[in-house]
Amino acid sequence: MSFSQIFKIGQRWIWIPCLLILWSLFARFVHLGTWPFPSPWLIFQKWWWLFRNGSLLKDIGASLFHVGYGFSISALIAISLGILMGWNKKVFDYLNPFLNLIRPTPPAAWLPLVVFVWGIGLLPGTLLVIYGSFFPILLNTINGVQNVERRFVNAALTLGLGKRQLMWNIVVPAAFPSILVGLRMGFGFAWMVLIIAELIAVQSGLGYMILLSVTTLEPESIIAGMLTIGMVGLGLDQLFRLLVDKYILKWQKGIVI
């Protein structure tokens, strides 16, 4: 490894020690009310402790379960409906005005109603995750199906493909990159909405854990939880990209999703 390479890597990661030093100084001199602002070291200790006693893993597991559950249902419905709406203009014309009416209401605005009707538990959380990830997947799927290149359709027709064959062999694969973009965006939203839901409507998971840390007066746990939420979100996003690149889109070079 040459000097310039080391320099480049240093350039990329230099912010970490800088941030830690600044944070430590900040923690030293700033107080949260009567509480000292937790230093990075204190947070790490707390994080390690939560990790060792298994409660953090339990919370991560609960959150992953919630998000996986809601997101899978959402993806299933949104992709199916998206293909149908993209393919069939009549269905699109019927449903689109209705969906456009609901869409601008953010998931957080649904939260009170959902809690009012279903109380606190897995169901309201799941519903919010479904709602939160539904539209990015639906819209990208519709878009992908509607924008299948004419030349592919023409080529398929001259090869003798029927309507159903055209749908499964041409339209769906051609729309696939767009569907994946929707899934990735949808998953980001699902994760975000889940944490919000766990703050209020669900009594487990990382969101619930940081909320609980407020009442138990543990600012280190709050920040440790926040960092964990961020890292898990980032990790899942990276994993998704890796899977897509390696297995799903090997026919398409250098796609950016």
Binding site: R151, A155, A156, T158, L159, G160, N169
Partner: protein, 253 residues
């Protein structure tokens, strides 16, 4: 016109494109009559933008005429289908399918059983010299190779007639000549009827039994040449170049 039975008959074909709300509709095809006999290689030669591609799309059933009829074996062509398939300038291979799957798709769609499909694929991959590339994706192939796949895909269906829409237009000169030779080799061995659209005079003369020279838009048939030069044709031969000159003169008038 030959007296042998025509495989394709085009009768008074007319087509206009509407130009939005204002302005006259754009007349593209102005009453074209043409008869194509079985086993014939016929080229439609015309200046760029003359409507020859639209003409071919109507023949293939991918576009609708305003007036007139197209018959294939005395049946009216009303839509696209595997017995009158088409090869496109941009190859139109499906990027999510390997070479083999691209070639096999039409066979699968028309209900050819798997073992037979496999055999036909293999045979046609050999026909276009792509052995060893069966499992490659289109993005891994050069332009010339992609067009070979498209040719194999067309011939694999064993159609009554093959339409080719400037199939070599996007290729460099060398690849183009190589593929012309390949196509003639395949044509002479299969004797499939081919309708070939091009704006390249020497390509038309090299390939065709007959050349239909068209006017500028709106397209009409100007002259039909019968190319009587023995195959394989020598591009540098005197008779070949004389013929090209003759065709070019008619095309340019």
């Amino acid at each position: 016109m030959t007296l042998s039975k025509a495989i394709i008959r085009v009768i008074r074909l007319k087509k206009s494109f509407s130009k939005g709300e204002r302005g006259e509709p754009l007349k593209v095809l102005d009453g074209i009559d043409l008869s194509i006999s079985e086993g014939e290689f016929i080229s439609i030669l015309g200046p760029s933008g003359c409507g020859k591609s639209t003409f071919l799309h109507i023949l293939a059933g991918l576009d609708k005429q305003d007036e007139g009829e197209v018959y294939l074996d005395d049946r009216l062509i009303t839509g696209p289908g595997p017995d009158h398939t088409m090869i496109f300038q941009d190859y139109s291979l499906f990027p999510w399918m390997t070479v083999k799957k691209n070639i096999g798709l039409g066979l699968k769609a028309t209900g050819v059983p798997p073992e037979m499909r496999e055999a036909i694929c293999r045979e046609h991959i050999q026909l276009v010299h792509l052995e060893g590339f069966e499992d490659h994706y289109p993005h891994e192939l050069s332009g010339g190779m992609k067009q070979r796949v498209a040719i194999a895909r067309g011939f694999a269906l064993n159609p009554r007639v093959l339409f080719m829409d400037e199939p070599f237009g996007a290729l460099d000169a060398q690849t183009r000549v190589a593929l012309q030779q390949e196509l003639i080799r395949i044509f002479t061995s299969t004797r499939k009827t081919i309708v070939f659209v091009t704006h390249n005079v020497s390509e038309a003369v090299f390939l065709s039994d007959r050349i239909v020279v068209c006017t500028k838009r709106p397209m009409k048939v100007k002259t039909i040449f019968r190319v009587e030069i023995e195959r394989p044709r020598d591009r540098f031969g005197v008779s070949f170049n004389e013929f090209c000159k003759q065709v070019a003169q008619v095309l340019d008038v």
